[in-house]
Symmetry: C2
Subunit: 315 residues, 2 copies
């Protein structure tokens, strides 16, 4: 497939991005629409079809041999369906079938967005050269994906690596997912901000009370802001150490908005990780920021096709 | 390798068992020695050599094509060494090299004992037919192993599936491993007994204050004994749900002494698991008792060789 292309789709709650991607991961053609996330399912699908139509209008379309989709989850790669939390019109929506129909019967591979980003980081980013890696997206939610024994490992339904909803505090706060003490409840951007506000941190004159503002306050030495990032780092450290004990990963890559907070996050994270990652075979574990930026979803959806490492929805 | 045999070794802190195992998992010849666990490393190795010597004296030895070792951990399959917690004379002990020398240069495969038991349960036990499984041993310690995408997945050093030392309580009690709130600290037999005693349970006239006695008291309705098993079940449930969210396993198999406690454990475990396993793709998760009994270590060490699914120490 050296000189052929992959049509990649990155479907999220805010935008639907598409691209024609070559064997080196270069995006040669791009298309994008806002996600009409609150509309009915067919309306959302129409936006996907417009993105595909724009790609298909390119003279390069004839070289596309397959389609890779990374979608907000949960997805069900074995059934070819998606049920993104933030797109209520899609529940068990037959995305693989509809995309194939819209794209002239090209084969379609579906994975979750966390898995797509992992494929990108392993191919060309911070996990390159690592045979056993956990890649995470820490932003509004917390997601992830796995590379095991050198290959992307999406799992039977394309959701493996879902580290945001593992419990690191079995008696802890209820999580919207129904469980308790989930990593997302302790470490997501909104929860970093909520905890800082609850403990007395106040935003500056611009009124920005997001995790980005908490990170800025932490860098300036505000102890409540520092403590909120330290608690997030503790939750991430416990979860990453668990993943390493279970799967012998040797690197954790952290992307997403919180992942760009820099030393405010990674300083305490590296320190606390040593406290939880105690077994001999996990002591080499490292944790680093993601490198692939905003194109990771598209590049990763293409990578999953090129690597043949995706789940059963290659139809 | 249909008509050939595997020489299997199961090395623990109490005994060293050996067997010649055929392609159906039948143990045709057996040998066993107590582990001189407090002696120096060469003395322990001598017991292993005696087991091998007894197997080699069998007329069937000529059909043995390879050796599989399941050893108490930590092991390092990539280096061929073992450092069992309960055998202080072996620290980084070159077990693969020494066994190969003792066994006439047959190829040797080394895995951890939790991985060996997993291989056995997947081959012929409770995980048979499941492509994604976590098998656990819950007794004095808590260990385990993984089957992913239909294959044993020992990890680079042969320790993957080490669920006993994942933290489900990030602010919890210190664990001897150095971390906090580990599953083992909450769910092992000695900790089930300790918690019952701390909360006022008292042993009967025979003085037995083990987890077996706590299980008997729980079956008789003692509320403190019931509560201690429920707390163990909660820790196991949180950990199993985490493993499912991370790896899309669909079954957890529990063996070891605590695993034989029956409904005292499995009743609350199944109920509480529903509270932690909330994501759509983990809802089919089931949890069952192990089936392979005391030969699991030997059969599993043979299975790892036959499946070719073991780590890098096939030398």
């Amino acid at each position: 497939m050296q000189t052929d292309l992959v049509a990649a789709l990155d479907i999220g709650g805010t935008k639907i991005a598409g691209g024609l991607v070559d064997g080196r991961g270069t995006i040669l053609v791009r298309a994008q629409r806002p996600t009409p996330a609150q509309e009915d399912g067919d309306t959302v699908m129409r936006a996907v079809e417009e993105v595909i139509g724009e790609l298909a209008a390119s003279p390069l379309w004839g070289r596309a041999r397959a389609i890779g989709i990374g979608s907000a989850g949960p997805v069900d790669a074995s059934a070819g369906t998606v049920s993104p939390v933030n797109v209520p019109g899609w529940r068990g929506f037959p995305l693989v079938e509809r995309v194939r129909a819209a794209a002239g019967d090209l084969p379609v591979t579906l994975i979750g967005d966390g898995v797509a980003i992992t494929a990108a980081e392993h191919w060309q980013g911070a996990a390159r050269g690592h045979d056993n890696a956990l890649c995470m997206v820490v932003s509004t939610g917390v997601g992830g994906g796995l590379v095991l024994d050198g290959r992307l490992r999406p799992g039977p339904t394309g959701n493996a690596g879902h580290i945001g909803h593992i419990s690191v505090d079995l008696d802890g706060d209820p999580c919207p997912c129904g469980s308790r003490g989930c990593v997302e409840r302790l470490a997501s951007g909104p929860n970093i901000a909520r905890r800082a506000l609850e403990n007395g941190w106040r935003p500056g004159p611009d009124g920005d009370d997001s995790a980005v503002a908490v990170a800025a306050a932490a860098r300036a030495g505000d102890p409540v802001a520092v403590a909120s990032f330290e608690r997030a780092a503790q939750a991430l450290a416990a979860a990453i150490a668990s993943a390493a004990s279970l799967m012998e990963i040797d690197i954790a890559v952290i992307g997403g908005g919180v992942g760009t907070a820099g030393e405010v996050l990674f300083g305490p994270l590296r320190k606390i990780l040593d406290e939880y990652a105690t077994l001999s075979f996990v002591r080499r574990l490292t944790v680093v920021p993601a490198r692939m930026g905003t194109d990771a979803g598209l590049v990763g959806a293409a990578a999953a096709v090129l690597a043949g490492g995706a789940a059963a929805a290659g139809v």
